[in-house]
């Protein structure tokens, strides 16, 4: 979806931005090619390869059988042999059938070769729920991927970042897991977060992997999140402003490497920390963020840090249960209120 604002700035959805970055790199570099289920003529179930098949043809834009172990393993082999594959795992939830190729090969071959074997590949995968697809099609699993060493992990919240991170991921000589949240893709059928569709330059550019962004400045509390969670934080920050509080919002953008400096600087300024994560509560991103701040300087906090994360349950189908369990702006505002009371 492309829209032009009155100022003439072109806005893109994340899906379009990913496809544009990929196309530009494919024009520049014959080593770049794409593989995955339904990424050819269909343009990807989530639209992020739209137009590529028409421009580059079936040799470089390859629909695969439903054989994730084989084609993700094949990407590892091709990447090690001088190509720069981009592969798609349609839903991150399907990692179960192919995780060995991802974390024992893609993520370890460089290390086990003493740095001699490069694995320059991008694994794109969709995350997130909120539309009643239940627990085999709605997870985020950010923490699962970020936990395993040897692969970079990015998760953009808007199209500008998505294009820059996608280009950077394709340029990177290391494997990069590019996690895109379904509700941000600009696919009408998944409901669309308007804030994710933003002006995007036509020319190619990169965004450094491993750099967070302060997307809203404030001094009373730091709200930290990634992908869809950033938009919940921005809404919460707006609501808090109406109450007379000023919230700073940090968009992590990358989980690996994690920009701990930006995080610590923000909390040092505000003295309060709320982490918002659509991934499971325990053993994940939210715990890591809090630890990263506290182990560095426990005295910077004026209140115990809080997290608004997904409870430790499989994601239910019924919309009543799912919506109740998901993070949202109200829960963030509540967490802030409780923090101020205690």
């Amino acid at each position: 979806m492309t829209t032009t604002t009155s100022a003439g700035t072109r806005k893109l959805t994340i899906a379009r931005a990913m496809a544009e970055a990929t196309a530009q790199e494919m024009r520049n570099d014959p080593r770049v090619f794409v593989m995955g289920e339904d990424i050819g003529p269909l343009g990807g179930v989530f639209g992020n390869t739209r137009g590529l098949y028409d421009e580059f043809g079936p040799e470089r834009v390859r629909d695969t059988p439903i054989s994730e172990t084989a084609f993700i393993g094949a990407a590892v082999g091709a990447a090690s042999d001088g190509m720069r594959p981009i592969v798609e795992l349609m839903f991150v939830d399907f990692f179960g059938v192919c995780m060995d190729a991802i974390y024992n090969l893609m993520a370890k071959n460089t290390y086990f070769s003493g740095g001699k074997v490069k694995v320059p590949m991008v694994l794109m995968t969709s995350t997130g729920g909120g539309y009643s697809d239940a627990g085999q099609h709605s997870q985020c699993l950010y923490g699962t991927f970020a936990h395993l060493p040897g692969m970079k992990v990015v998760a953009p919240s808007n199209a500008y970042d998505a294009k820059g991170l996608m280009t950077a991921a394709i340029h990177d000589d290391n494997p990069v897991v590019f996690m895109y949240h379904k509700s941000l893709q600009g696919m009408g059928w998944l409901g669309t977060e308007k804030g994710a569709t933003v002006p995007v330059p036509e020319e190619s550019y990169t965004l450094e992997i491993g750099k967070a962004a302060v997307v809203r400045e404030g001094h009373d509390v730091t709200l930290v999140s990634l992908a869809a969670g950033v938009h919940h934080c921005l809404r919460a920050a707006q609501a808090l402003e109406d109450e007379g509080f000023s919230a700073e919002v940090v968009d992590l953008r990358s989980l690996v490497p994690l920009d701990r400096e930006t995080l610590r600087a923000s909390v040092a300024k505000t003295g309060r920390l709320i982490v918002v994560d659509e991934d499971y509560h325990s053993f994940g991103v939210s715990g890591e963020i809090i630890a990263s701040v506290v182990e560095h300087d426990h005295a910077c906090l004026k209140a115990a840090p809080r997290r608004v994360a997904y409870p430790d349950i499989p994601i239910p189908f019924a919309p009543t249960m799912e919506q109740w369990a998901l993070p949202n702006a109200d829960k963030i505002v509540d967490a802030f209120h409780q923090m101020m009371l205690s």
Binding site: G40, I66, E68, T69, Y131, A134, G188, A318, M321
Partner: protein, 328 residues
């Protein structure tokens, strides 16, 4: 193997019932999703994979199964659930996400579990095969009667799990039958573009088990092939792989534009709709007349309507119930 009159009418009735269920789900699913199609909206949110056209596979196989036999199904499970005798009220309530549903609404349409008739399904392609093999092993170890059938789409035959499960079942000679519903498409990818063999039943040779092919979505040919395979496993003679040529008359899921289909394909498939075809077969054989057909169809429709009313009249669980049932 020929079906009895009773079996013929049972198969026809369950096809009619399954189709009507899908038609009703289709229209209820669209409530709240027009003019803007947003999957999260309406009384049935989320993905919806209809089974229209694939009913012969379900009834032709399940006609040979008892409640104690095990079935694992896929993301497209309704026709199989209906034929396996899953509690229809609780199934439809689950599809609506209600408290009275099979899982109180936690699972939804892709995750239907009815332990009373040993039915389950999963949204992950190829992942029903291992559990079917294991259930067959369990029956063998416990000396209990019952066999297992794993249903899958033709796309699943390219998953590692398919090959591993067939080998395991064959090497241990377990009472399990693998049934591929070949509807020629895995979402937008045609079978011939993804599969190295034109017919997956040939892959049975790799595991030294019988491979059977059934053409043309033919109810009685499916009945016959499945009957022989299931009789063999009941006698302890080891697994069989069956591939059935069937037809997906709907999109991959609701909301699918289906632009990938060649022009005219869908119309052609609809002309070969297995339900009117079987109806005619039964009429020609004198097993059905217009009056008895009307009664059968009305009865099936009434059953579906009752299940839908049951679901609609049921409440949702309180949202906090999301926290329950993670462990027993």
């Amino acid at each position: 193997m020929q079906p009895t009159t009773e079996q013929r009418l049972w198969m026809y009735r369950h096809m009619v019932l399954s189709r009507y269920l899908e038609e009703r789900i289709e229209s209820l699913y669209m409530e709240g999703k027009t003019p803007v199609f947003n999957m999260a909206k309406g009384p049935i949110p989320g993905e919806m994979h209809l089974s229209n056209g694939q009913e012969p596979c379900a009834v032709g196989v399940c006609a040979h199964l008892d409640p104690e036999d095990i079935v694992t199904a896929t993301h497209r499970p309704h026709h199989i659930a209906v034929a396996k005798g899953v509690d229809l009220d609780a199934m439809v309530a689950e599809i609506f996400g209600k408290a009275t549903g099979l899982a109180g609404g936690r699972g939804g349409h892709m995750h239907l579990f009815d332990a009373k008739v040993n039915f389950s399904c999963s949204g992950i392609i190829g992942e029903g095969l291992g559990p079917a093999v294991g259930a067959a092993l369990s029956r063998k170890l416990q000396g209990k009667p019952g066999v297992a059938v794993a249903f899958m789409g033709e796309g699943a035959a390219n998953q590692g799990a398919f090959h591993e499960a067939l080998n395991l079942a064959a090497v241990w000679q377990l009472p399990v039958v693998f049934v591929i519903e070949d509807n020629a498409w895995g979402i937008s990818v045609a079978k011939q573009a993804s599969t190295a063999v034109p017919r997956n039943d040939r892959r049975a040779a790799a595991y030294d088990m019988p491979g059977v092919h059934v053409a043309d979505n033919d109810v009685e040919a499916i009945f016959s092939a499945a009957g022989e395979a299931i009789a063999r496993v009941r006698e302890g003679q080891g697994p069989t792989l069956i591939e059935i040529e069937t037809a997906r008359l709907a999109g991959h899921f609701m909301g699918d534009g289906e632009d990938y289909r060649p022009k005219g394909e869908k119309e052609g498939l609809k002309q070969r709709d297995p339900i009117p075809r079987y109806r005619k077969q039964l009429l020609d054989a004198g097993l059905l007349d217009d009056a008895s057909d009307d009664t059968l169809v009305e009865g099936a429709h009434a059953r579906v309507e009752a299940a839908i009313r049951f679901a609609q009249d049921s409440e949702f669980l309180p949202p906090e119930a999301a926290l329950e049932a993670v462990f027993v």
